[in-house]
């Protein structure tokens, strides 16, 4: 008998709540009585949020100008025509005149926008060497194969920075001039070119190779600049903290855009008299026109935009919130009607 008793003990399942599938549990039901208040509450909250977002987006001002230079669209068409079919295009400058009837509320940010430019093309977006950009000397001399055909120069020197992204660095430059009084002198508005890239990018991710004899130029000795560049990388800026791989224009460009139409931050206007925004008056933007876009059917735009807590002008979020909120309320009402009518039927059925 003892034998069978132990056998029974061994076979007997553990009688725990888990093995018997009887763990205490919360058993919610998504019934109309729960969903209805939920829908109404969510609807109201969404409409509230949506209104806030919509107005805050509407408060943001944007001023944009297409300076591609299609014929008859301002004086940049000269440059565009001059650059047609010539590589590299000759240096050319043009200007954009505009006037502000009232204060352009600051802080104002200056963006450039490119269209039809596929930074997210796979062949393009892999064509970089992150090791090289992080200042690794060995990678400087031996760029990865993904950089091809911008891996080695015709002379066989390694290209630094290698790859298609770096090679196609946006090289138009802008300066903003303000004419306070009609007919008066144009005063240059200071553009803050720092802080346009992610802090972590130019402090951690992008590093210059170690200096050789205190000179960045020597560190890059034995490398070639990308074929489209007019200057080597160590001469991108006279400021030693903003040159080489950590040049902020370069860093901004290297963060590839998600969509074929994209903006990139060029400068912030926040100094001197312009910290509150651009006062009313006439303005001129001097444009150094270098970057060819017409070859691939692209456009170049220049945008002044103010910024709120939610970033730039984007009505989408506000409208979407409003639509979803109203939908919630609408379906809430539909469900309420269904609920009441059905409840009657159900009662009849029960009886």
């Amino acid at each position: 008998m003892t034998w069978s008793a132990t056998a029974r003990g061994a076979h007997q399942p553990d009688n725990t709540a888990f093995t018997q599938q009887r763990l205490p549990a919360w058993q919610p039901l998504l019934s109309a009585s729960i969903a209805l208040p939920l829908f109404f509450c969510a609807g109201l909250a969404f409409i509230g949020l949506g209104l806030g977002l919509y107005y805050s987006s509407n408060g943001i001002k944007e001023l944009e100008y297409d300076y591609t230079g299609d014929s008859g669209t301002g004086n940049c068409s000269v440059c565009a025509a001059a650059g047609q079919g010539r590589a590299p295009p000759p240096p050319c400058s043009c200007a954009w005149y505009f006037s502000l009837p009232e204060l352009f509320q600051g802080p104002v940010y200056l963006y450039y926008e490119l269209t039809n430019f596929y930074q997210n093309n796979r062949r393009y977006s892999v064509s970089r060497d992150d090791a090289q950009l992080s200042g690794l000397p060995s990678a400087l001399r031996h760029p990865v194969n993904e950089c091809a055909p911008y891996q080695f120069s015709a002379a066989g020197l390694p290209i630094a920075p290698c790859g298609a992204i770096a090679n196609s660095l946006f090289n138009d430059s802008f300066s903003l001039w303000h004419q306070r009084l009609p007919g008066g002198l144009y005063v240059e508005v200071p553009l803050d070119r720092s802080g346009i890239a992610w802090w972590t990018d130019y402090h951690v991710k992008f590093r210059n190779p170690p200096l050789v004899n205190g000179s960045l130029a020597l560190a890059f000795q034995g490398t070639a600049p990308p074929p489209n560049w007019r200057r080597p990388v160590y001469e991108l800026s006279p400021d030693p903290n903003n040159t080489g791989f950590i040049n902020q224009d370069f860093v901004v460009w290297m963060r590839t855009a998600a969509l074929p139409t994209f903006r990139k931050l060029y400068a912030r206007i926040r100094q001197g008299n312009y910290s509150a925004g651009l006062p009313r008056g006439a303005y001129r933007v001097n444009i150094t026109y270098n970057y060819p876009v017409r070859a691939f059917g692209g456009h170049k735009l220049l945008i002044f935009s103010s910024i709120s807590w939610m970033g730039g002008k984007n009505p989408f979020l506000g409208i979407a919130y409003l639509v979803v909120g109203s939908l919630c309320i609408l379906t809430g009402f539909v469900m309420l009607i269904v609920y009441i009518r059905y409840q009657d039927q159900d009662d009849d059925y029960e009886e």
Partner: protein
């Protein structure tokens, strides 16, 4: 002794064992044949090594890999991986190689471990020592060195090392006892007989000097001086010698040729309906995948036809890229797109499904409701592949004896010459009063009558195969009810034990079989000894019974008792010898042995004198009726397949509520077919049924309303074989279709007088009928194995008739009543769980991959990935895997108790309801909608603007991360919406995996990982979180994605609630459905013990039609005289009372 005897061995022909019998000549003890015999051709036989393992050390890796990659899914992933290795693809090979490697390795380790265990077991078996005779001396050798022709000695309690021909034993009569517990689980002792000519060889020297030749095989030459052998001379490997000190035998089949090894052949794999649906869905997704890749490839080349798009100045190609052939490029692009989208068919789904099945099956074995205290047995799960199939059963085929009934026989009464005897019931020691009061125990029978009576009891006491066991080392012992003797009767037939015990209570105690004498203790406490003539057989014969006994047998049969008639015949010495000779000749016949034996029995079993009849009750299993009723309410059709006779089986069916009082019985029996033609009967029945179903209104669908007419069909084996038999004109399907049509309209079907193979045939017939219903077979005996193997789900009841059924089944349960919980609760849960698992997996991968597809339209079809490699790899492995796995293990959409109380809920999931194409399309569309929301939500967010307060711009990886974050939250919350049963584990995994995603992303982007050659994710996630609009967008997009599903759920629940949802809604006030639906419950007394309520009820109801039909079935032949002639023993096996057995008393 004569040393040059030739022995011809020929095996009994059993169905399905043709491959076992080959022709061979064996020289016992490897002695050369005597000169003059035919030329000695040494035959090569395998050694006695048993190899059950699949792999060796050397071939494990290639063979295992080959086996694994034969699975289509694995092969597909291998191809994807290879493509990634070979061509330049957007994702690194690691993303698909790592999961594949993981899956393959885990499977290989598991299989390797199992094989290692098999190796160990094989080695233990192959190396165990065996005694055998060499040159007249006893030698010990390892088992694997045993050769065909070796003479082996086996001692008591040893296992036979190979298949042996039994030469001699130390017992004088040349017998030995064997138990085959390890082969088929039957613990009773079986007697085997030594070869007649050699049974005198008792010592090693004698045996060593034996010259003998064994020929075997169907093609053996029929030389007259060959001594034929039968299965009683054969000792099978794996069986154990019992009650015999030692035996000698010669090895005839060794190693892999033994019967045991041949039986190793694995069962065919069963696949569940869910798996089939899953494969269909997979094919759909494969098509989607290929079409996506094709569309993108074509569009890519259309789009690129303008050179400034193909190769703008800022994105030049290398020289080698330009040189490449256009078609090669297009093909590579196609492959690259395939790779990009291949995640839509995830490796992890297979892993998760397997894990869910494996782990989920533990809940069955753990379930203490299905644990039987009495036997200490719990349910067994032999395969976990079919868990969900338990929730899909439409037909149950159940055995009667031992499954519906307990197979716990009790001797109820006997009837001798018009007197009914009821044995004392042990508990009170009193004679039970007879309910109908026909005849009480007659106190003063005539002298002649007393003689008859004693003869009857002696016959019962002696004619059986019961063995007496003094200790209880065998399982299932039955203690003698008589307190005085401590002996236990064991037999493979519980009927016989019941009879012997019953007779014991009537005064005759069987003591033992000793030295060919059977001893019994008679009423006067004298020991009587009878010579034991090994001449026993059981046969089912028909005979014609005298009026009274017939009535009695009939009555008992109707009550569900098992009846047996006892007759005798007095033989004189010469007659006996004649019979012996006749039988021997038949037994050793090489051709048509069965037929000849039958003829011999026919000849002997005539002119028998009837003594009386017995009735043995087989009680219904506990709650069998309740279970059947619940299963029928669940919409399952229950068929009873039994070998019993119709009356007995029908009575059991009434008792277990398979037939109800308002069930109109349709008969399709041999009797009726003889009266009309099969054709007419079938058409008449179908007309009846169809007329009825034509008038059937919809609201009667539930089949529960009392006034609804439902039909029960009774068919017997002979009629069935007529239906199944292909007709001469080849239109065999005609009758089958008609028969199926009738069956479909019947709520219950009883098939009686079924051969085991016919049971499987019936299952097959239904299985392949045009609706392809899911079938389940439940049985307890070896005769049910064929149907258990045939049905979609085979369930074995761990019963008294050995464990063969349990062993061959997919699931084994201790009692029939456990079937209820198994199907209604476990089956239902598993089905709900796995269907959600499958649908959800496809859904979340549509959500995952469709944005990638959309992104191609915005990146110039350049196969740019939207998500980072880490996200691609981990999405299915870790971010979204655990919640669904735990859901699929824990989910209970409705309480266990509710499911048990309300079996109709089972209908909600019938016919694969949750995996229909409509549901699948809903899930897929939901996935597409969500994917559109994720992608275009993020698109409009990022279009032409900045979303940070410092004016900085996000790149493409932030875009992808935003989509990905919204997606992970949406699919996880979607699962949360579907979860009805939130245990702490669900909370833990759902919120835990969201948290894990966030923590992982923070870490992944927070550190410059030195092992990566790109740092594209650096600070991406953190930057995204620093932007307010990103948070708002996440909330908005998750809400939009979930909204339609919530709306659908709420509206469906409100407008078209399923039964399950109704019950969920009303869970607070559970309705008392049981009493509502079981008007019969009150009519039935709870048990089925002393009086037979079903029979009383059956006859007292006003179903005159049925009753008349019953009467018509019973023999209507004229009351015969006892001195029966051949005329009275009809040869057709289906007349009058075919269940009775005649025992010959010599």
């Amino acid at each position: 002794p004569d040393c040059s005897r030739l022995i011809l061995l020929s095996f009994p022909q059993c169905a399905g064992e043709e491959n076992w019998v080959d022709s061979r000549t064996i020289y016992v003890g490897h002695r050369e044949p005597p000169p003059g015999a035919e030329a000695y051709i040494p035959q090569r036989y395998p050694d006695n090594r048993i190899v059950s393992s699949k792999y060796t050390f050397w071939n494990f890796i290639p063979k295992n890999l080959f086996e694994q990659f034969r699975r289509v899914a694995n092969f597909y992933f291998l191809i994807i991986f290879l493509v990634q290795l070979i061509i330049d693809t957007p994702t690194s090979p690691v993303t698909s190689g790592l999961p594949l490697f993981f899956v393959i390795t885990v499977t290989a380790i598991k299989q390797g471990y199992e094989d290692w265990l098999r190796h160990k077991a094989d080695n233990a078996m192959n190396q165990c020592p065996v005694h055998f005779i060499q040159h007249g001396k006893l030698v010990r050798k390892q088992s694997r060195k045993l050769r065909v022709g070796d003479i082996v000695m086996v001692k008591e309690d040893e296992t036979f090392p190979c298949d042996l021909i039994f030469l001699s034993s130390n017992r004088g009569d040349g017998t030995c006892h064997v138990t085959t517990a390890s082969l088929d689980g039957e613990s009773s002792h079986k007697t085997h007989y030594a070869v007649q000519d050699t049974k005198g060889f008792h010592t090693e020297e004698d045996i060593g000097g034996l010259h003998a030749t064994i020929e075997s095989g169907a093609s053996g030459s029929l030389e007259t001086d060959f001594m034929p052998l039968g299965s009683e001379n054969l000792l099978l490997r794996g069986a154990t010698l019992k009650n015999t000190e030692k035996i000698f035998g010669v090895a005839i089949y060794t190693g892999m040729e033994t019967k045991m090894a041949l039986n190793y052949q694995s069962k065919s794999q069963k696949r569940s309906a869910v798996e089939k649906s899953m494969n269909a869905f997979l094919i759909v997704y494969l098509c989607i995948l290929i079409s996506k890749a094709l569309i993108n490839t074509v569009l890519k080349y259309v789009w690129q036809s303008e050179p400034f798009r193909d190769e703008p100045w800022y994105n030049q190609k290398t020289e080698s890229e330009r040189q490449r052939n256009l078609f090669l490029r297009a093909f590579t692009d196609f492959l690259a797109f395939m790779v990009l989208f291949n995640y839509i068919i995830p490796v992890s789904m297979y892993v998760t499904v397997e894990m869910q099945k494996f782990l989920g099956s533990y809940f069955i074995t753990w379930d203490e409701d299905m644990f039987d205290e009495e036997t200490g047995e719990g349910p067994l799960v032999n395969t976990s592949d079919l868990n969900e199939e338990l929730g899909q059963v439409e037909y149950i085929f159940t055995d009667k004896t031992g499954t519906l009934t307990e197979n716990n026989m009790e001797f109820k009464e006997c009837c001798i010459e018009g007197h009914v005897y009821v044995p004392h019931v042990i508990c009170n020691g009193q004679v039970l009063p007879e309910s109908s009061g026909i005849d009480m125990i007659d106190s003063s029978p005539s002298v002649n009558g007393r003689e008859r009576e004693e003869l009857f009891f002696r016959a019962l006491c002696l004619c059986h195969t019961v063995q007496v066991k003094d200790n209880d080392s065998v399982d299932g012992p039955r203690k003698s009810p008589d307190g005085g003797t401590s002996c236990v009767y064991i037999s493979s037939s519980p009927d016989e034990v019941a009879l012997v015990e019953g007779v014991q209570r009537l005064g005759f105690t069987y003591l033992r079989l000793k030295d060919s004498y059977m001893e019994l203790l008679n009423r006067e406490n004298h020991v009587e000894r009878y010579v034991h003539l090994a001449l026993r057989w059981k046969r089912q014969v028909l005979c014609v019974l005298p009026q009274f006994i017939r009535a009695r047998v009939e009555r008992n049969a109707v009550e569900g008792l098992r009846t047996l008639c006892v007759a005798y015949k007095r033989l004189i010495q010469e007659e006996y010898e004649g019979i012996c000779k006749l039988l021997q000749a038949a037994k050793v016949a090489l051709q048509d042995r069965e037929k000849k034996l039958a003829e011999a029995y026919e000849q002997i079993e005539k002119d028998l004198i009837l003594l009386g009849a017995t009735a043995v009750e087989d009680r219904l299993q506990e709650k069998a009726a309740d279970t059947i009723e619940a299963l029928q309410k669940a919409g399952i059709k229950v068929w009873v397949l039994t070998g019993d006779k119709m009356e007995t089986a029908a009575a059991t069916c009434y008792a277990c509520k398979l037939f109800r009082r308002n069930t109109q019985l349709l008969e399709l029996t041999t009797k009726r077919i003889e009266e009309q033609s099969l054709h007419d009967v079938l058409f008449e029945l179908s007309k009846t049924v169809l007329r009825h179903s034509g008038s059937l209104t919809r609201d009667n669908f539930s089949g529960l309303s009392a006034d609804m007419q439902d039909y029960g069909l009774i068919i017997d084996g002979a009629a069935l074989s007529l239906i199944m038999k292909p007709r001469e004109d080849g239109s065999s399907s005609n009758y089958r279709e008609l028969f199926l049509e009738i069956c479909r309209s019947c709520s219950a079907v009883l098939c009686c007088r079924m051969a085991p193979l016919q049971k499987a045939q019936i299952v097959k017939l239904i299985k392949f009928s045009k609706e392809h219903p899911i079938t389940l077979a439940v049985g307890d005996g070896a005769n049910d194995v064929s149907m258990i193997l045939e049905a979609h789900v085979g369930i074995g009841v761990i019963g008294k008739e050995g464990r063969q059924a349990a062993r061959n089944s997919d699931y084994a349960i201790p009692k029939f009543k456990h079937l209820k919980k198994m199907l209604l609760v476990h089956g239902h849960f598993y089905y709900i769980r796995i269907s959600e698992l499958v649908q959800y997996f496809f859904y979340k991968n549509v959500c995952f991959i469709f944005p990638q597809f959309l992104y191609q339209f915005f990146c110039g079809f350049s196969q740019q990935t939207l998500y980072d490699t880490a996200y691609l790899t981990l999405y299915n492995i870790s971010f979204t895997s655990l919640p669904i796995l735990l859901y699929s293990l824990m989910e209970q959409h409705i309480g266990i108790d509710v499911l048990k109380r309300d079996p109709t809920l089972y209908r909600d999931v019938a016919k694969n309801a949750l995996l229909r194409w409509r549901v699948f399309i809903y899930w897929t569309l939901l996935g597409l909608f969500d994917a559109l929301v994720f992608f275009f939500g993020a698109y409009f967010m990022f279009e032409n603007t900045t979303v940070t307060s410092n004016g900085q711009i996000f790149g493409n990886w932030t875009f992808g991360t935003l989509v990905f974050t919204v997606m992970v939250f949406t699919v996880t919350l979607k699962l949360a919406l579907d979860t009805h049963y939130w245990t702490w584990i669900n909370h833990f995994v759902i919120w835990g995996s969201l948290l894990f995603y966030v923590v992982f992303s923070l870490l992944w982007g927070g550190v410059i990982w030195p092992f990566l050659n790109y740092q594209r994710m650096y600070y991406v996630f953190i930057q995204m979180l620093s932007s307010g609009p990103a948070w708002l967008a996440i909330v908005l997009l998750v809400t939009i994605s979930l909204l339609p599903d919530v709306l659908k759920k709420v509206l469906c629940r409100q407008l078209w609630p399923t039964a399950t949802e109704r019950v969920q809604n009303g869970c607070a006030q559970p309705r008392d459905r049981d009493s509502e639906f079981t008007p019969l419950a009150s009519l039935q007394s709870p048990g089925y013990q002393s009086t037979c309520p079903s029979a009383a009820w059956y006859s007292s109801r006003s179903q005159q039609v049925t009753l008349a039909a019953w009467k018509g079935k019973v023999s209507v032949e004229p009351p015969p005289a006892l001195s029966g002639s051949r005329h009275h023993c009809s040869s057709s096996p289906s007349h009058s009372c075919p269940g009775s057995r005649v025992q010959l008393l010599v």
